[in-house]
Each structure stands twice: as structure tokens, then as C-alpha cells.
């Protein structure tokens, strides 16, 4: 048996620091929103000319007066991602860019993907993305509230917030792009983190019924250990699947799978080190659940 409970305090402090720095990062540095949420245009370009580099592309695009242009490599050699924020683009803007670029670097490229999101749509997408995350947190809160006692709900929700905030903090720290698929990842993380917490809580409650003489501090540790191999096996299989998406699934799914990988790791960790210490702090005992049962 591993004594997880010995480290409750230590990891609580670490988590607290991580959360605080994430919140600080989010409020000071903010998130790097992609075209989905900021509006603007994205072009994925592939060229057959090996002499073309980020520098030549940047120079060419800067000559087209599109405002702030961001050019970077994207996955494979000769694949580039170009982003600019020019808000109102005409129906023929993309065509003009193609013609201009042909004149500047020759007819050696192909637009593989073009995304253009107007300011109205992007602010709507951002709003609905945030609503989706809030609604899912609320739905989880509701579910856990009808399934468990309030002490458990508090623990589970704290763990959820912890996972979501730290994952977003990580994205802020490394300026990784936030787009629609990241929102999908965050929602899935919410589901996964909850799932993981609930399995341990289920066991805690079962043990509370069984043993009236064991303190919650010990009891959570027993429950964590009893469910530990399940926790590990499920995390491993999920991570294997996600790593496979991250490595082989192509550039477009990279951000999504990275967010999910972080979420699964934090979700597993928080079930043990956030959700359970909350039960200890709130002095959950057999009475907590017996009282509910009588009600």
C-alpha cells in the first residue's frame, strides 16, 4: 500500500501554487486565441520550392499590406501556416493574395487550407465556447450533487477547476493556440477528470459504510489504493491512444491531443490529491453518509 495521504499537504501546496500561477498567467499574459476566436485569416500553404523559407514568405506577405502577418512552419518540411488579422476581407482577397504571391515567389505553392472568420462569428464562437465550458461544469456539479453528499461535490468540482485552469495555464505559458478543438478537449477533460474522481469517491463511500472506526484520512488512502490499479490502467490506455493521436494524427490534431494528454495527467493526479484531501478537510465521516441515507 502506498501512503498517498502523507503527501496531501505537500501536493496541495504545489497545486495551489500551480493554480495561482496559472490564474496569474491567464490574467496577465492571456491566451493565444486562434482565428476561430480572434477572427482573421489562416492559410496553410505547401510549396514545392525548397528555397522558400519562413523569411521569404514573411517578406512576401508583408508586402501585401494585410496587417500583422504571422508565418511559421507547420509540421512537414515545406508546409507553412500563415495568419493575419485583417478583419473585413473581400470575397476576392484570397484570390488576390494568390496572384500576388505567384508574382513574388513563383507558381510553386498550393493553398491546402484557408480559414477566414469574421469578427462577429469569432466573438460568437468565443462566447459559445465559454458557455459550453461553464454549462458542462454546472452539469457535472448538478450530477455529482444528486449522486453524492455536498462534501464530495465540492471536492470533485475543485478538482475539475484545478485541471481546467492548469491546462489553460500551460497553454498560456507556452503561447499555444486556443481554437475550437481545444474547447472540445477541455470539455472532454472535464468529463474524464470527473469520471476518475467519481470512481474513487464511489469506493470512499462504500468504505465509509463498511468501517465506522477508520478515520477519513486513512480511509481515503485505502480507497485510493484499492482503485489504484484501475486508475493506472485506464490512464495508461487513454494516454496510449492520445499519444498515438499526438504523434501520428497530423498537425491539426496536435493541440487537441496535447490538451487532452495534460488533462488526463492532471485529472488523474487531482482525483487523488485535490478531491480526497477536501474530504479530509471537511471531516467526512460515516455520519455524513448515514444521515443522508436516513433522509
Amino acid at each position: 500500500m502506498i501512503n498517498f495521504n502523507k503527501f496531501y499537504k505537500l501536493f496541495n501546496i504545489i497545486s495551489f501554487i500551480l493554480m495561482l500561477s496559472s490564474i496569474l498567467l491567464l490574467s496577465v499574459k492571456g491566451l493565444n486565441f486562434g482565428v476561430d476566436f480572434k477572427g482573421g485569416t489562416l492559410i496553410e500553404l505547401r510549396t514545392t520550392d525548397n528555397n522558400i523559407s519562413v523569411t521569404t514568405l514573411r517578406k512576401s506577405f508583408n508586402e501585401m499590406s494585410l496587417g500583422d502577418v504571422n508565418v511559421k512552419k507547420f509540421g512537414k518540411e515545406n508546409d507553412y501556416l500563415i495568419k493575419f488579422e485583417k478583419k473585413d476581407i473581400e470575397p476576392n482577397t484570397i484570390e488576390k493574395i494568390k496572384v500576388d504571391l505567384k508574382n513574388l515567389i513563383g507558381d510553386t505553392f498550393d493553398f491546402r487550407r484557408v480559414e477566414n472568420v469574421g469578427p462577429k462569428v469569432s466573438s460568437e464562437l468565443l462566447k459559445s465556447g465559454m458557455i459550453a465550458i461553464i454549462v458542462s461544469l454546472a452539469a457535472m456539479l448538478f450530477y455529482i450533487w444528486i449522486r453524492f453528499e455536498w462534501q464530495f461535490s465540492l471536492g470533485a468540482i475543485l478538482a475539475l477547476f484545478h485541471d481546467v485552469i492548469i491546462t489553460l495555464g500551460f497553454f498560456s505559458l507556452f503561447s499555444l493556440e486556443i481554437n475550437l478543438s481545444i474547447v472540445a478537449a477541455v470539455l472532454t477533460i472535464v468529463g474524464y477528470s470527473m469520471n476518475d474522481t467519481v470512481v474513487i469517491f464511489d469506493r470512499v463511500r462504500e468504505n465509509l459504510r463498511k468501517f465506522s472506526d477508520i478515520k477519513i484520512y486513512e480511509l481515503t488512502n485505502i480507497s485510493i489504493n484499492e482503485t489504484l490499479s484501475r486508475t493506472i490502467i485506464t490512464s495508461v490506455t487513454t494516454l496510449l491512444a492520445l499519444l498515438s493521436i499526438y504523434i501520428f494524427g497530423g498537425e491539426i490534431l496536435k493541440g487537441f491531443s496535447l490538451a487532452m494528454i495534460l488533462g488526463v495527467i492532471f485529472g488523474t493526479y487531482s482525483s487523488i490529491y485535490i478531491a480526497n484531501p477536501v474530504l479530509v478537510r471537511l471531516r467526512v465521516s460515516q455520519k455524513t453518509i448515514i444521515k443522508e441515507d436516513i433522509d
Binding site: P91, N92, I94, E95, D110, F111, R112, R113, V114, E115, N116, V117, G118, K120, V121, S128, I131, A132, V135, S136, A139, M140, Y143, R147, L180, S181, V183, A184, L187, T188, V190, G191, Y192, M194, N195, D196, V198, V199, E206, E226, S229, R230, I233, T234, V236, T237, T238, L239, L240, A241, L242, S244, I245, I247, F248, G249, G250, I252, L253, S257
Partner: protein, 517 residues
């Protein structure tokens, strides 16, 4: 618990076969209608263009207000009511009446049978909201009056958009209403939507009007620019012919000048009017105006009574073709603006499919190896369940002809990783039960029973996330939520029917075996 009736076994077997057949139908090419169902590939996988158009209803609103002003004028005249100052003031109609008539006029506008201010029964609201201030009346479109306008312009616009897209002849376009003032156009397989975009960006309001030197023309005049150069001309506001009078329009070559032109055929009313104007107006210039710009303004040489004519201008064959297409499909009720565009080339789509399939296979193999390493015989059972689960998932997506997107493929891979969870929960529980219970069958039974609440809880939480994503997400993300949600359902089915059946058979055979798992 361990006992499975023959009937149950056969049913489960048949269901599995049924699903496997449907899943396989994606890889078959038969004409059999039952097996011809296939999963749709999203635009991000097959390549194509997604355009979201917004209707700018402001001009329509103003035009409707202008029309209403005229009707109100006629209405009040009809009723012998003296009025003054009837005019448009910032999107509302204002007018004054004499004190003695005020009561009556208010009645006219608030009556449920009112002919001048229609009452919508379904909304329980009039078309206009009325504000009375002494003798001054102010009419403004009510919330529902505006909805009515938006709905009708959306209905008209979607019809025109459909005609234009159909004329270009793309592969199975998908054109749908979004909200009250948007239209979604999905064009599978189209990797360069340039032409469609420029076609949809034009309102295509065509009018034939005389060029005039006289600034005091009865109908009023306006200064318009030429489409091709900076020239401008004074044009009468009187519309001789509009696009509605056109029966047909085609690009053509003019034999004499070797110029590309657009020839058109007018309807009866149009032909009559055109004939009259051209016979009385020889020597005058006739401006052909499209969306507020003059395409050309040729001098009338002869009377044209046949109802056939041609539009000249600096056309290339392509631009003449496009103009003819626009004229044939008719004018949009209001300008459209492209507010979102997502285009994926077919080769990127194919790359995405390849990457997704490779990730799926590798993820799948890794999970299978890990499970077999962890649980041996039971791992094998979990793996068989997983394979079947994947068939079920694909089969259900096929039966409902769901759209598979790149995030959708990610959802399938994620399902592979998470689907084993239910089996793991059960196996771990059986292991625990075996520590205190010597009888394999009893341990097996209580393992299944005791793990049930955890499994249900765990899956419901993921399902909640998936459902919220389905309702809040758009396009590709919806695809992800669908595969995730269906994946959870097929997982529960395969775990409780297939996996349990197989483990039961195994445990019955190995009743006495020690270290069962």
C-alpha cells in the same frame, strides 16, 4: 447471473453480426440499397468549402418602410383624413393628423382586423409598434414585424443562393438556413470557392435606365460610376426594365464586332416596354445598371420590339458567363456578406484521413498489447470486446449516415482508450473479490454487481460532456461529440453483453482454477 439463456446468446450473436455487416458496408460497393449506406466524410476529410453568409437586412427594412409610407399615404387619403409631414425618420414613419381624427387613426392601426397594420396571430403582435404623441404618430417595425421581414428575405435569399450554386454545378451542395439572417453553404470537393464567392457576393440588381443630361428629371436622377473605368453618368431613377423582366440570359459572341456579349430574352411585359422606349428614344443612351454601377450605356440605334437584346461591356467569356448566370438566377433581396469561410483542399483531407487511420491503428494495437500483457486471458476477452465495440461504433455511425470529421476520428481513438475502462473496473473488482471469496463463480458475480455504480457514474459524466459539446459545438467538433457519445453507448453494450458472456463462459469452464485473473 452466470447463466445466459440460449435465446440471449443467439440474440447477442445476431446483433453483433448485424452491426458487423453494416460496419463493413462502408468498404463494399454494392447496389443493394440496404448495404449502400456509408459514413459521410466531413469537409475537413474529403476537402471542400464551408461558407457562412449573412444577409444585410437593413436595405430591405428601409425599402419596406418606403413602401409602407406610400400605402399609408393612400390609406389616409382613402379615409379622407388630412395629414401632414408624412415622412421617414430614422427607421420609423412619422406623420401628423388633426386632433379630431387622432382617435380614429389610432383605431385603424390598433384594430386586429387592421389592413394597414396587419396583426400576426402566431406572434400576438402587429407589424408596427405605434407611438402616439398628441397629434403625432410614429410607426416602427415591431420585433415580430422585423422577424417577418428577416424570415421572408432569408427564404428568398436561400432560393437564389441555391439557384446560383446549382448553376455552377458543384457536387451535392448543402445549403441550409442558420438563425434568422444567415445561410450556410457547404460545397464538398470544391477546393477553390473563388467563383462561387464572387457570384454570391453580388446582389445582381439589374435595371435599364436612360442616361439624361437634365438634372430636373421628373423621377429624379443619380450620378453613377461605370463598372470598368472611372467615368460617370447622370442616370434617371426611372426604371424601364429590371432583372425580373428577364426570361433568359446567355453569354454569346457578337458576330460583327467579335465582342463577348450577354444576350437576353424579355418576358411579354418587358418586351413591350423595351420596344416602346427604344422606338421613342432613338439616339438616347440606355444605361444598363448592375448593383449601382453602369456596365455600359450604348446609344439606342433601332427600335427593338422582338424582346431580344444584348448587353455589351468589356466582358471576357468568363465574366459574361457569370453575368448571364446571375441574371438567370435572379436578384438577391438583400446583399450577402461572407462572414466565415473554411476551405480544405482534397489532398490535405486525404492526408488527414491517412494520419487519422494510422493513429487509430497504432493506438488500437498499443491498447490491445497492454491489455493482453496486464490480464492475459481476460485481456484477450477485453480485446475481442474492443474490436467488436469498434465495429458497433462504425455501424451505428453508418446506419445514421453520420458525418465523420477529423476530430471525430480522434473521438474514435479516444473511445478505444477509454472503452477498456469498464472492463478494467470489473476485472479489478473480481480480483478483489477473489481475495476473500474462494468460489470463482461467486467472486465473478459480485465483481460485476459491485462495479456497476462506478461504471455507470463514470460513463454518464463523459456522456454529459459529449452532449453539451453536441449542442454547443459546430461542424467538426460536432463530429467529435457524436463519436464520443456513440462510443460510450456501444462500450456499455459490448461490456455488459459480449464481454460478460465471454467471461462467464470462461469462468464456468475454469470453476476450480486458482489465480483466475
Amino acid at each position: 447471473m452466470l447463466y445466459f439463456s440460449k435465446f440471449k446468446i443467439i440474440t447477442v450473436f445476431l446483433i453483433s453480426v448485424f452491426f458487423i455487416i453494416f460496419a463493413s458496408s462502408n468498404f463494399l460497393n454494392t447496389d443493394n440499397s440496404l448495404l449502400s449506406k456509408k459514413i459521410n466524410l466531413g469537409l475537413d476529410l474529403q476537402g471542400g468549402s464551408y461558407l457562412l453568409l449573412e444577409i444585410d437586412n437593413e436595405p430591405v427594412e428601409i425599402k419596406k418602410l418606403q413602401n409602407s409610407t406610400t400605402s399609408i399615404r393612400n390609406f389616409l387619403k382613402d379615409k379622407n383624413i388630412n395629414f401632414t409631414d408624412l415622412k421617414l425618420v430614422e427607421k420609423s414613419i412619422s406623420f401628423n393628423v388633426e386632433s379630431k381624427d387622432a382617435k380614429n387613426v389610432e383605431e385603424f392601426f390598433l384594430d386586429k382586423e387592421s389592413e394597414i397594420n396587419p396583426y400576426f396571430n402566431q406572434y400576438k403582435s402587429h407589424k408596427f409598434d405605434l407611438t402616439v404623441d398628441g397629434n403625432n404618430f410614429l410607426l416602427k417595425f415591431s420585433k415580430y414585424g422585423l422577424i417577418e421581414i428577416k424570415n421572408s428575405s432569408q427564404d428568398q435569399a436561400i432560393e437564389i443562393v441555391r439557384r446560383r450554386v446549382d448553376e455552377v454545378g458543384t457536387n451535392e451542395p448543402n445549403i441550409l438556413k442558420r438563425g434568422s439572417d444567415r445561410i450556410l453553404v457547404e460545397l464538398p470537393g470544391l477546393d477553390d470557392p473563388m467563383r462561387i464567392k464572387s457570384l454570391l457576393g453580388k446582389t445582381a440588381n439589374l435595371s435599364f435606365r436612360l442616361v439624361t443630361e437634365n438634372a430636373n428629371d421628373n423621377f429624379g436622377v443619380e450620378k453613377l460610376f461605370f463598372e470598368n473605368d472611372d467615368g460617370e453618368a447622370l442616370v434617371s431613377k426611372r426604371i424601364i426594365l429590371s432583372g425580373e423582366n428577364l426570361l433568359d440570359a446567355q453569354p454569346n459572341m457578337n458576330n460583327q464586332t467579335n465582342q463577348t456579349v450577354v444576350t437576353f430574352t424579355l418576358d411579354r411585359v418587358g418586351a413591350k416596354r423595351f420596344g416602346k422606349v427604344t422606338s421613342t428614344g432613338i439616339g438616347k443612351r440606355l444605361a444598363i445598371v448592375l448593383d449601382g454601377k453602369i456596365i455600359s450605356a450604348p446609344v439606342i440605334q433601332d427600335a427593338i420590339v422582338s424582346g431580344n437584346g444584348q448587353i455589351t461591356g468589356n466582358f471576357t467569356f468568363q465574366s459574361a458567363t457569370d453575368l448571364a448566370l446571375l441574371l438567370r438566377s435572379g436578384a438577391l433581396p438583400a446583399p450577402l456578406k461572407i462572414i466565415e469561410e473554411r476551405t480544405v483542399g482534397p489532398d490535405l483531407g486525404q492526408d488527414s484521413i491517412n494520419a487519422g487511420v494510422i493513429a487509430l491503428i497504432i493506438g488500437f494495437v498499443l491498447v490491445i498489447i497492454f491489455m493482453f500483457y496486464k490480464y492475459k486471458m481476460f485481456g484477450l476477452i477485453a480485446n475481442i470486446t474492443l474490436v467488436l465495440n469498434l465495429f458497433f461504433l462504425v455501424a451505428i455511425l453508418t446506419i445514421f449516415e453520420a458525418t465523420l470529421t477529423l476530430p471525430g476520428i480522434a473521438g474514435i481513438i479516444l473511445t478505444v482508450g477509454m472503452a477498456v475502462d469498464a472492463n478494467v473496473l470489473i476485472f479489478e473488482r473480481i480480483k478483489e473479490e477473489l481475495l476473500k471469496e474462494k468460489n470463482n463463480i461467486i467472486a465473478f458475480d459480485s465483481g460485476y454487481i459491485k462495479s456497476k455504480t462506478a461504471i455507470i457514474d463514470a460513463n454518464i459524466t463523459t456522456l454529459i460532456s459529449a452532449i453539451i459539446l453536441f449542442f454547443m459545438g459546430s461542424g467538426p467538433i460536432k463530429g467529435f461529440s457524436i463519436t464520443l457519445a456513440v462510443g460510450i453507448l456501444t462500450t456499455l453494450f459490448s461490456v455488459y453483453f459480449i464481454s460478460r458472456l465471454l467471461t462467464a463462459l470462461y469462468v464456468i469452464k475454469n470453476k476450480e482454477k486458482e489465480n483466475l485473473i
